[in-house]
């Protein structure tokens, strides 16, 4: 090590500070901004989520009170201000159900399409595809329903997917394909109503 006198040492430190001081201050400042920015961002996100949740809860209460207009208003607020929140998607699911119950099919379709366009969670989008297919099938828009079914990504939804395929084939008067689809649904888990639908089909050709 070289030997410095005290004065030389002070001088060296000053020199060094001149060269690097602003960089260090900037570094500390950036660090503080990042820390506080992050904390602000997380608490803001939590607050946003809580607000969205409150709107959703209000919407549910409006639906139980049969106040459809108020429910729609709450839903619209969610779609406008919290479009990234899953609560907006859940709200659209609830509103779509209400619309189907009120026989307002175009509205139900619009709600479900909103989810398809906006949902962050793939699973919710898949559910929206399935329900959309169900409504379109009811409206006789078979090709569009078909398109929705091909958009479903996750294999976890196979029971419902295959049942809908079967229903679609049946609507297109293709009972053989419908049977195959229903049987696929049954082997994926099935439900009580699949057996009913299967028994109603004409016997398979090879057994005749």
């Amino acid at each position: 090590m070289e030997n410095y006198t005290d004065e030389e040492l002070v001088e060296t430190i000053k020199q060094w500070w001149k060269a690097n001081g602003s960089a260090i201050i900037a570094g500390i400042a950036i660090g503080l901004v990042v820390i506080f920015g992050w904390r602000f961002w997380t608490s803001h996100r939590l607050a946003q989520a809580e607000d969205a949740s409150l709107h959703y809860d209000n919407l549910l209460q409006s639906l139980t009170r049969n106040n459809a207009a108020d429910a729609l208003r709450q839903g619209q607020e969610l779609f406008d201000d919290y479009s990234g929140s899953p609560y907006a998607d859940l709200a659209a699911l609830q509103l779509a159900k209400q619309a189907v119950a009120d026989k307002k099919m175009p509205e139900a379709i619009a709600q479900l399409e909103w989810i398809v366009d906006h949902a962050d969670m793939d699973e919710i989008r898949d559910i929206a595809h399935l329900r959309l297919a169900r409504v379109l099938l009811d409206q006789g828009r078979l090709d569009e329903a078909d398109k929705q079914l091909t958009s479903v990504q996750d294999q976890s939804f196979n029971v419902e997917l295959e049942e809908l395929r079967g229903d679609l084939y049946l609507a297109r008067k293709q009972p053989e394909e419908a049977r195959t689809a229903y049987q696929a649904a049954l082997s994926a888990g099935g439900n009580n109503f699949l057996q009913l639908k299967l028994a109603d089909l004409a016997p398979p050709k090879q057994e005749k």
Binding site: A49, Y87, A96, D122, R131, V135, D138, S156, A199
Partner: protein, 638 residues
Amino acid sequence: MLQTIRDRASGWVAYTIIGLLIIPFALWGINSYFDGSGVLNVAQVGDIEISQQEFQRAYQQQRQRLQAMFGGNIDPALLDENRMKQEVLQQLVDEKVLLQVSKDAGLRVSDQYLRQAIVGTSAFQRDGTFDAELYKRLLGAQGYSELSFEEGLRNSLATEQLRGGVADSALVTAKELDQVIGLLTEQRNLRYVVLPFAPYLEKASVEDSAIEAYFKENQKRFMEPERVRVSYLDLSAERLAESIKVSDEDLRSFYQEQIAQYSLPEQRSASHILVTIPADHKPGDVDKAKAQAQEIYTTINSGNKTFQQALDELKAAKPSGIEVGDLGTITKGMLDPAFETALYALKTVGDVSEPIQTPFGFHIIRLDGITPEKTKSFDEVREDVTKQYRARQAETRFYDLAQTLTDLSYEHPDSLEPAAQALGLKIEESPWFNRQGGEGVLAYPKVVTAAFSEDVLKRGQNSEPLEVEPNHVLVIRLAEHQDAQPRSLDAVRDDIVKQLRTQQAQQKIAETANTLREKAIAGGDLQALAGEFGGELKTAEAVTRTGSKLDSAIVREAFRLPKPVDGKPSISVATLGNGDRSVIAVTQAQPGKVEDYPADQRQALAQQMAQQRGLSQYESLVESLRQRFDIVTHGDRL
């Protein structure tokens, strides 16, 4: 020497030593970073761990829920520990998956919602309102801090919102509902031949050689199970009671102590006139009732009417808001305290009280009679006193003796003798029994389990004290053991014959039914075929899925069959509950009339379908979410 080491400990020597030291530190130190504080996890879901403690808590809660649901009569299958543990673990894993997904996606309930949920929980309420004290106490008892409980609840409320949002919003369209109703109410016409099983069973015959062959092949099924005899000491307060000696003096002082038991307290009978306060009363109602009662009381008190006259008049007029009547005999503690105090304040029979307020309203009470306190004499209840005295004494002795039994049977694990001598008990011997148990003390499952336990059966030691009932303890040890043994052919011959005959008859009738079915499919006339194969042809029109009088196996098969096409019947075979076979031909199917289906049932069906569909979609969602995480479970640590 140290100086030499210091001198040498530089350069390559030092580096080599340090290098060598690094190796063990690196290898043996490192695992502590992964094991954390040594707490074992039962599962890991992504970054979240499920500790054994958390699992145990969830498991205990589940057990308590089941116990509360079924009381004492729990189905043992439900308490299959391993299965239950797996289920609880699966639930916890799903919870963690949903928790992380909810957090990432931005699902979080507000403080207001959380508060409502807590305040609205009935467990935290006293008399219908939230009780903060009770809330804190219950959380403490469950081992939660307020903060951790509220965080946990907040999370589960958020995931519940996700569940509800998906599962409760499933769609069922009207067209689809029509289709299902059409299928559910479909009517089918059937012709069916029933082939009775009994003649086949009668005709079946079994050769001796077949019996022997079957016996040899299935030897394992014809084993006399493993069995044991045990010696045991039986200590119970009930038996001790018989040996307790009693003196007249002891009994008398016991009688004095327990005199309250042998006394009947004073009883009073009364009538009342009640001006009621309605349950949903408005502010003015209480004052109005009070004034009305006061008015009635004034008429009686001033001597204008007697209580009896007032009561009779009101009884006849039946004005609303007033009830009158004889209340009969009243013991203390039966009625509202305010009422009771007033009644017992009345001195002589016939006295009438001022209006007294109770939650029901305002009562004017008349004392109708007094039955004074009565005490049974010692001689009257001597027998009962003796019995109770003995039981009490026996219980005290039982605790001492049970302790001695525990100590001695544990100190001398190879013999019951020391304990038997110390307690003055006889060593008793059980008859032979297997794992099914038997009569007497063998009816206690604890005894049977202990008899076949490792300690008793394999090591030949005393069992631990088995508390089979309150105040009843047994210690057992093995007397004799016999391994499972094959039974002789003669002992099981009848069983085998029965079994083989049934098998043969079933095979024959199945063959016949199948031939009949094939001929019918080929176009044979069912009437003729029925005659040929010894069956009977029946027809049934407009059979529905439910509510039919036909055998349920026939209906099930008839609706499992595809619809007949072009007048060609669908044909199949069903096995009935009693073994009979039926060849069924569905000749016609008419769809049900959707418009005749009752509206409320339609509503219920729509709900059921939507519920099922929603739940299935939600389960699919959870299944899909699970795949987003690395999930490791340790079934061996449960």
